[in-house]
């Protein structure tokens, strides 16, 4: 994934399926795609008949060498790009994509890994972390993985079935607004204490990836430092949902 490989590719929609009420799972076939890097993202570019272009970044849900690209896109009401992708883009249609992008917020299985890996997701920030957990799943040996996923309600969960099947990542889901029926505990916002209880302690020096809306990432990154984690071990990716 050197920068020289970054260029626009033409992708065709193989399938589309609602992941939640307001998010779509798009599977693209991109014949010239260099491959998916766990945690990386791509830019999608739409061109109007008059030549006007709009592009947005979306994390890859897929990982590994493949020309198949999977995205899960949350609709931002009033947005310029996401409502089109979620509601209108049809199977068989083409879009331009550029990537895979980013070398900072990625997990490369081949790297020798001494410390465990802690993934922390807020809402649709789970997408690149799911990609990392999937990549870890394919490796027979490697670091211990844990995922803490903060999401409004069971209905808003991405990858609900896939997360339940992960065998090499310990998954804990925190519902912030509405619990699962019979969960036996009320919904709760993530706090520093809950974070500490559900993640690898600083004494294990975990590498930490945090992805979510900007306020979530800033709060969690601040708590992690207060809990004694080395800031150099914490990698963050914020999305604000530009409309």
């Amino acid at each position: 994934m050197t920068p020289s490989r970054v260029r626009w590719h033409l992708g065709r929609v193989l399938s589309r399926q609602f992941e939640t009420e307001a998010a779509i799972r798009l599977e693209l076939d991109v014949p010239t795609w260099p491959g998916n890097v766990a945690g990386a993202h791509l830019d999608i570019r739409l061109t109007a008949p008059d030549g006007y272009q709009a592009s947005r970044s979306y994390s890859l849900a897929s990982s590994g060498e493949s020309t198949r690209v999977v995205l899960v896109i949350q609709e931002l009401p009033g947005g310029e790009v996401s409502p089109f992708l979620v509601r209108q883009l049809a199977e068989g249609e083409e879009v331009e994509v550029q990537g895979p992008l980013g070398r900072f917020f990625v997990w490369i299985p081949a790297e020798p890994e001494q410390s465990p890996v802690q993934l922390i997701a807020g809402g649709s920030g789970v997408v690149p972390l799911f990609s990392m957990a999937s990549a870890r799943e394919r490796e027979p040996k490697g670091a211990d993985f844990r995922l803490l996923y903060s999401v409004r309600s069971p209905r808003d969960e991405f990858f609900a079935d896939e997360l339940a099947e992960l065998s090499r990542t310990i998954v804990e889901i925190v519902h912030t607004r509405e619990s699962a029926p019979g969960a036996g505990r009320p919904p709760r916002r993530l706090t520093r204490e809950a974070l500490a209880a559900s993640t690898f302690p600083a004494s294990l020096s975990p590498r930490i990836f945090v992805c979510g809306p900007t306020p979530f990432v800033e709060a969690v990154a601040g708590w992690l430092v207060e809990l004694g984690h080395d800031p150099a071990q914490i990698r963050t990716e914020r999305f604000g949902g530009s409309p």
């Binding site: 050197t2 830019d43 980013g102 900007t214 990698r235 990716e237």
Partner: protein, 85 residues
């Protein structure tokens, strides 16, 4: 408006300057902090993107994509260190 971070500019910098901005280290001219530009605060509008220091909020740079060319201003950075990939 809320900001995102330097990860969101990976595509713009890769295609314009051929550099991987997310693992490029820059030093803020205003406060002297050095950091990975993936951690810079980035404000994106239809006009373009403004990159600010996460420590002191000074403007580090601006990237504006036009029809025929892209304008890049990195005048808020003393330097950038671009790894050989």
């Amino acid at each position: 408006m809320t900001h995102v971070d330097g990860n969101a500019l990976a595509g713009a910098f890769a295609t314009t300057l051929g550099i991987e901005i997310t693992v490029t280290v820059g030093r803020c001219r205003s406060c002297g902090s050095s950091f990975n530009l993936a951690c810079a605060h980035v404000f994106i509008t239809a006009m373009g993107a403004v990159m600010r220091c996460g420590h002191c909020q000074a403007v580090l740079g601006v990237i504006v994509r036009g029809f025929r060319e892209t304008l890049v201003n990195l005048s808020g950075l003393d330097y950038i260190r671009v790894p050989h990939l």
